[in-house]
Subunit: 356 residues, 2 copies
DNA sequence: CTGTTAGCGCATTCAC
DNA sequence: GTGAATGCGCTAACAG
C-alpha cells in the first residue's frame, strides 16, 4: 500500500479538514465534492478525491445528519425476524435502501407492545426519516407517536387515515380467490381454513378473504371448519387434529400462512393421511422451505422482496417529496398462486378414514 | 393526553433547550439528568424528567454521538440473512444490544466481496464502535480496513492475530466427536460427509473436525465419501445422489449444516431409502425447522443466540475497556448433540439397494 | 466557482 | 450543585 507512505504520519484524527489541507482547498470544497455539487471545478474535484483516497477518508454520517437535518435512515419494524417470511423482506429492504444511499434500522417486536414501544423510541432517537411497519396487527396508539411527529410511515393492510401514512394493499382477495378456484377446479367442495390469531388484524383480513371466495364459488361455509391458529407450525398440527376430531371431513385445507400448512403436512403424515391423495393443502407466503416440503407445497405467493421495495419507495417518496404534496400513496401488492404438489383432484366420495 | 394542553403550542423544534426552558434550568442540567450524572439535585432532576415527559422529548442520538465520540452502535455482518441459521443470531444480537443501550447495524454480504466492501463503508461512515463478523469465510484484506482504524472486531473461528480482535471459538471438534460417537454406538462404521464449499474457511474447519473424529474412533476414511457441497438444501440432494451413484454405500451421512442434511432427507425419501432405518443422517446448526422434518433431524447444535451474546460481550468489553488492556479475549462456544429421529442402529449387513 | 462563517443538538470543560 | 461557554464534524448561507 502506498497509503502508508503518503499518509501524514501524525496519528491525528481524520476529518474534512484533514482532507482539505491535503488537497489544498477549503473544507467547503471538500464537502461540495463529496456531495457531488456540480459547481466544483473538475480540477479541484480530482484533487479532493485523490486526497480522500489517499487518506482513506469516510465522512462522519452523524455530523452530516446533524447539520443537514436528514439522517438518511429508514426504520423497518417486523414482528419476528425468526419467522421465515421476514428475512427475505429484510434482505430486500436492505438491498434497495443501501442502493439508494439510505441506512436501514431493523427491529423486531415479537408482537409484544412493550418491545414495540422501545422500538419506536429507538427510531425516534436515531431520527429516522420514515418507518415501514410490517407487523401485521399493529398497536395503533403507539404508531401515533410517529404520526404526531410527522414521520413518514408505511403500513400494510389497514390504513391509519392520517397524513404521512402510505399503505401497502396486499391483495389477499385475489390470492384466496386463486386458491379456492384452484381447489374448485380440482373438484373440492369441502374446504377448511386454519386462520392466524384473530386478534391480529391481518389474520382477520385473510380469513374474510377466504370466506368471500367461498361465497363467490357458492361453497358451503361451516363454522367448525374454520379453526383458529396462530401462524406457527404447531398451530397447523393442532388445526389438523381439531379437524380430524370432527365427524365429517374436508377434502382440502387452506391455511393462513405457510408455516401452518407445513404443520398440517406433518400432522397428516403422522395420521397416515396422504397429501395430496387424501387431502389437498394450500399455504400462503411462499417461504423458501415450501418448495422443499414433502410434498412440495402449493401456496399463495406473497413476495417479501416486492413488499420491501414498495415500502421503501413509499418512504422515499414521502421523505423526498417537495412541500406541497406529501407523497402519500397506496401501493397494490399482488399475490399469485404457486401450484406444486400438495393439491390434487378431490376424491369423488370423501370417505377416507381420519385416524388419530 | 394532557400533553396536548401542556405542550407549548408553538410548533418549534424540540431540543434540549426546549426542555431546559420548561424545567427552568440550564441545558447542562438537562444533559446531566438524562445521563444520570449523580451530582444533579433530586429536585431539579424531577423537574427535568417532568418536562421531558410532558414534551415527549427524545435526545438526538446523532448529536450525542458527535460530541461524545461514541456512537453506541455495533455492526453485525452476516453472510445471508435468508439462511435460516442467522435470523436467530440477528435477533439475539438485537436483543442484547438494545438491552445494553446499543444500536445494531445489520448487513448481509451474500458472500460477495463487493457487498462486503460497501458493508464496511457503511460501518465506517456510521462510526460503529465495533463489528461482529459472522461471515464464516471472510475476506481478510477488507477486514484490515476496520482493524487499521482500531475498531473492535469479533470473528468466528480463525483469528486475525491483530490487536482489537476477539475470537469466538466454535467447538466443532466436540460437536463432531459427539456426532460420530453417537453413530458409532449405533453400530455405524461407514460414515460419509457432505461438506460446505471448501473455499470457505469454516467449511474446511468442519470437515477437518469430522475427519479427526473418524480417526479417533478408528473408522475408515474414504475419499469418495467426502463430498463437497455448498451448505444449501440442493447440495444435500446432490450429495446424496453422488453417494448413491457409488457402489459401496455408507450407513450414515453427516452433514456440514442442517440445510444440507434436510436435502439428504428429501433425496433419500424420493430414492425410497428410509431414514433412519436404511440410513442415518446428522446435521449441524439445529435450525428451527430441523425439529419438524420427516423424520425430525438429529443434529449438532450450535446456538445462534449464544454466539450473538458472546459476540456482543466481546465487543462491549473492547469498546468499554479502560485504556491499558484492550479487552481482547477468546470466547469458547460449545456445541452439543440433539438426538431426534434421523439416526438409528446400523443394519448389520449393509446391502440395501440405493435406487436412483 | 471558491472560501469564510455560522450553526445543527448535545456533552463537557470551566467558573461560580 | 449549577450555569455559561466551547466545540464535536459537517453543510449551507453568504461573500467574494
Amino acid at each position: 500500500m502506498t497509503r502508508l507512505r503518503t499518509r501524514t504520519n501524525t496519528c491525528t484524527k481524520l476529518d474534512i479538514r484533514t482532507v482539505a489541507e491535503r488537497a489544498d482547498v477549503s473544507i467547503a470544497t471538500v464537502s461540495r465534492t463529496i456531495n457531488s455539487i456540480p459547481t466544483v471545478s473538475p480540477l479541484l474535484a480530482e484533487r479532493v478525491w485523490k486526497a480522500i483516497r489517499e487518506l482513506d477518508y469516510y465522512p462522519n454520517s452523524q455530523a452530516r445528519s446533524l447539520v443537514s437535518g436528514r439522517s438518511r435512515i429508514f426504520g423497518l419494524i417486523v414482528p419476528e425476524i425468526t419467522n421465515p417470511f421476514f428475512p427475505e423482506l429484510v434482505q430486500g429492504f436492505e438491498d434497495i435502501a443501501v442502493e439508494n444511499g439510505y441506512e436501514m434500522l431493523v427491529s423486531s417486536t415479537n408482537n409484544d407492545p412493550g418491545r414495540m414501544s422501545v422500538c419506536i423510541r429507538r427510531m425516534l432517537e436515531r431520527r429516522v426519516e420514515g418507518v415501514a411497519v410490517m407487523t401485521f396487527g399493529v398497536e395503533e396508539p403507539l404508531l401515533q407517536q410517529l404520526s404526531e411527529r410527522k414521520i413518514p410511515l408505511v403500513l400494510t393492510e389497514f390504513l391509519l387515515d392520517t397524513p404521512h401514512v402510505s399503505t401497502l394493499l396486499l391483495d389477499y382477495k385475489m390470492g384466496f380467490r386463486l386458491g379456492v378456484e384452484h381447489l374448485v377446479k380440482l373438484g373440492h367442495r369441502h374446504i377448511a381454513f386454519i386462520s392466524g390469531p384473530l386478534a391480529l388484524h391481518s389474520a382477520r383480513t385473510r380469513r374474510e378473504a377466504f370466506l368471500a371466495s367461498l361465497k363467490e364459488f357458492q361453497l358451503p361455509i361451516r363454522e367448525s371448519w374454520m379453526v383458529e391458529g396462530d401462524h406457527t407450525l404447531e398451530a397447523g398440527v393442532r388445526g389438523f387434529q381439531a379437524l380430524a376430531d370432527q365427524g365429517e371431513i374436508p377434502t382440502a385445507i387452506l391455511c393462513s400462512n405457510d408455516m401452518t400448512a407445513i404443520g398440517v403436512l406433518k400432522a397428516a403424515y403422522h395420521a397416515h393421511v396422504r397429501v395430496p391423495d387424501d387431502l389437498s393443502v394450500i399455504g400462503l407466503d411462499d417461504i423458501r422451505f415450501s418448495e422443499y416440503t414433502l410434498p412440495p407445497l402449493t401456496t399463495i405467493r406473497l413476495s417479501g422482496v416486492e413488499i420491501a421495495q414498495a415500502a421503501f419507495h413509499a418512504l422515499q417518496a414521502q421523505a423526498e417529496s417537495e412541500k406541497g404534496k406529501d407523497g402519500v400513496r397506496k401501493y397494490p401488492i399482488s399475490t399469485s398462486l404457486v401450484v406444486r404438489e400438495s393439491t390434487a383432484p378431490a376424491r369423488t366420495i370423501n370417505i377416507f378414514p381420519f385416524p388419530r
